[in-house]
């Protein structure tokens, strides 16, 4: 990887840290601590289920919000504030800038997720008093959540490369919402006929399939996850991310910075 990509990624990470993005961890810590204490007092035998469900869902939602809100400004904010001029007037290729920004945001989310994961495990230990073998699947769920973030980051960057932050946010949140019900959309397509069927099926395959990446319920119920699913989801997320990033690069390479 080009050293310039690393420098841009590191600066993007530093920006997120200095803009106090990681302060969301405080809110997360409060939420997970409160939930663990509350669940520990009122529920019977389902503490583990509740903590995993709530904890992983919070990890996912906090990360998605961060990915979208930072991602949509990664390019457009730099153009608007003209900070990009002094970067692109150096030996930096435009694609390096996009890829560097992507890795910077992905790195921020990975660090954020790491600390939130510690919170989830701590809460789990607090309510269950010990870790069981099935708890190892939590790592897979967290891995899928990170894959989900990669897709969202690349989509936010794609929208940011040609659209205003507001429209980018609308597009990204819409895709996240639709993608979370991608399996339902496929089910709906199977029930319809003609043009509606093709439209529903086309949309279901075009939007990112976040429902396949959501294994929180399975992990909470201690159901094992197959190796094939892990491999499939990995390849799918990498392909989707690479495609969206390529789109962002193609658009940005041709963009006039007025």
């Amino acid at each position: 990887m080009s050293a310039r990509i690393l420098h841009i990624a590191r600066n993007t990470f530093r920006e997120a840290v200095r803009d106090r993005v990681l302060y969301n961890l405080v809110a997360f810590a409060l939420l997970i601590t409160g939930a663990a204490i509350l669940v520990g007092q009122i529920s019977i035998e389902v503490e583990r289920l509740v903590v995993i469900n709530l904890g992983l869902t919070a990890v996912s939602l906090f990360g998605v919000v961060i990915a979208i809100f930072i991602g949509i400004g990664l390019v457009s904010k730099e153009i608007e504030k003209r900070t990009l001029y002094t970067v692109l007037s150096r030996p930096v290729r435009r694609w390096e800038f996009i890829v560097g920004k992507f890795f910077g945001l992905a790195g921020t989310l990975a660090v954020n997720t790491f600390f939130m994961a510690i919170g989830v495990f701590a809460a789990l230990l607090y309510v269950a008093h010990k870790f069981g073998r099935p708890d190892a699947w939590l790592f897979v769920a967290l891995y899928f959540i990170i894959l989900e973030f990669l897709i969202i980051c690349s989509l936010a960057l794609l929208f940011s490369s040609f659209s205003s932050p507001l429209l980018s946010a609308v597009f990204a949140f819409s895709l996240f919402a639709i993608g979370s019900f991608a399996d339902d959309l496929r089910g709906f397509a199977a029930l319809t006929h003609g043009a509606a069927r093709w439209f529903a099926l086309g949309s279901a395959y075009l939007v990112p399939n976040f429902s396949a990446l959501n294994v929180i319920a399975s992990v909470a119920h201690q159901q094992p996850l197959g190796m094939q699913l892990i491999l499939q989801n990995t390849l799918y997320a990498l392909f989707y991310t690479a495609t969206a990033l390529s789109g962002a690069v193609l658009i940005f390479e041709r963009r006039n910075l007025k």
């Binding site: 050293a3 310039r4 420098h7 841009i8 600066n11 530093r14 920006e15 200095r18 803009d19 504030k81 003209r82 900070t83 990009l84 001029y85 002094t86 970067v87 692109l88 007037s89 150096r90 030996p91 930096v92 290729r93 041709r254 006039n256 910075l257 007025k258």
Partner: protein
């Protein structure tokens, strides 16, 4: 070798809701800047100066034409390691300190870590920024940001520096320091290309200037030639308020201001005028050839409309249009 060769660069934007209406920001521009010179790119606001600089920096794409910078295609990213650029009204990552920002830019320009460590305090001190360690750029004034902008443009010791309105936001002392810095860069053999609408800065600094107006190049030439004694007149200044009758006989246009008289006479009457002052025992203060100011030339070029032939001939060889 030419530092910059602009070969018919032009830019037309599509404006309007459907982006169908063309708006010409820059007519085909032909311009050559030699290595080692300070070149002023003059024009009023909205003339096309910034568009030209953005085209050369690859920030916007031309509708037609090309350019060569330091002998390379201007689109070659590697050539940018030898170029410094200060954008107009620069804005930087305000969560960084000046040291961090310069370190980041140094990394992007491929400057090695030990060199960055040595160079950063050096350039910051050169632009007059001291005692700013640990202060984030969001706390900097406009003038201080301008100085940071100049520092980042020269950090990597480039051969060619582009400054877009470098005096903007600076106080008189700051402007003087930037002028000195540009002169220093020239002494080091670097080429400086700067855009400005402040003619006194250009007159004081530039070897050559180009005048652009409404996206069209109106004139190019050496400052000395443009401001030469074209009128064939001299200005004589003496103490007192008395105007000898013989001075009037020399067709002098005299004006009394306080205890000084300023007379403008034909150049060939200069000796006779000095004899008159000696005879009348008046104290001579100065004799100066009357020069066309750059401002007068600038205004003249803005009012005139050059023919296509004039533009082609004048710009192609870099002469006065």
């Amino acid at each position: 070798m030419s530092a910059i060769e602009i070969l018919g660069l032009e830019k037309t934007y599509k404006v309007g809701f459907w982006r169908k209406r063309p708006k010409r920001a820059l007519e085909p521009l032909h311009l050559t800047v030699q290595e080692g010179e300070i070149f002023g790119f003059l024009g009023p606001n909205g003339a096309g100066k910034t568009t030209t600089l953005k085209l050369l920096m690859g920030l916007v794409f031309p509708t037609a034409g090309s350019a060569r910078i330091l002998g390379h295609e201007w689109t070659d990213p590697e050539i940018k390691a030898q170029i410094g650029f200060l954008p107009e009204q620069p804005y930087f990552y305000d969560y960084l300190t000046a040291h961090e920002l310069l370190d980041y830019y140094g990394q992007l320009s491929g400057v090695a870590a030990p060199e960055r460590k040595r160079r950063i305090p050096e350039v910051l001190s050169l632009v007059g920024l001291t005692d700013i360690k640990g202060v984030q750029l969001r706390k900097f004034s406009k003038g201080m940001l301008q100085r940071v902008g100049i520092a980042q443009a020269i950090l990597h010791n480039p051969r060619l520096v582009f400054f877009d309105e470098p005096m903007s936001g600076l106080d008189p002392l700051g402007r003087r320091e930037v002028r000195d810095l540009m002169a220093q860069l020239k002494e080091q053999g670097k080429t400086v290309f700067f855009s400005t609408h402040i003619l006194s800065d250009a007159e004081a600094l530039c070897d050559r200037v180009a005048i652009i107006y409404k996206g069209q190049l109106r004139g190019v030439g050496a400052v000395e030639d443009l401001t030469s004694s074209v009128q064939g007149k001299v200005e004589i200044l003496w103490q007192g308020s008395r105007i000898p009758a013989s001075m009037k006989a020399l067709n002098a246009e005299c004006h009394v201001t306080g205890d000084r008289v300023r007379a403008v006479i034909p150049e060939n009457q200069q000796d006779a005028a000095i004899d008159t002052l000696r005879r009348e025992r008046l104290r001579l203060i100065a004799i100066t050839p009357l020069r066309t100011s750059l401002e007068a030339y600038f205004v003249e070029k803005l009012k005139s409309t050059p023919t296509p032939e004039e533009i082609k001939v004048g710009t192609a060889v870099g002469n006065r249009v």
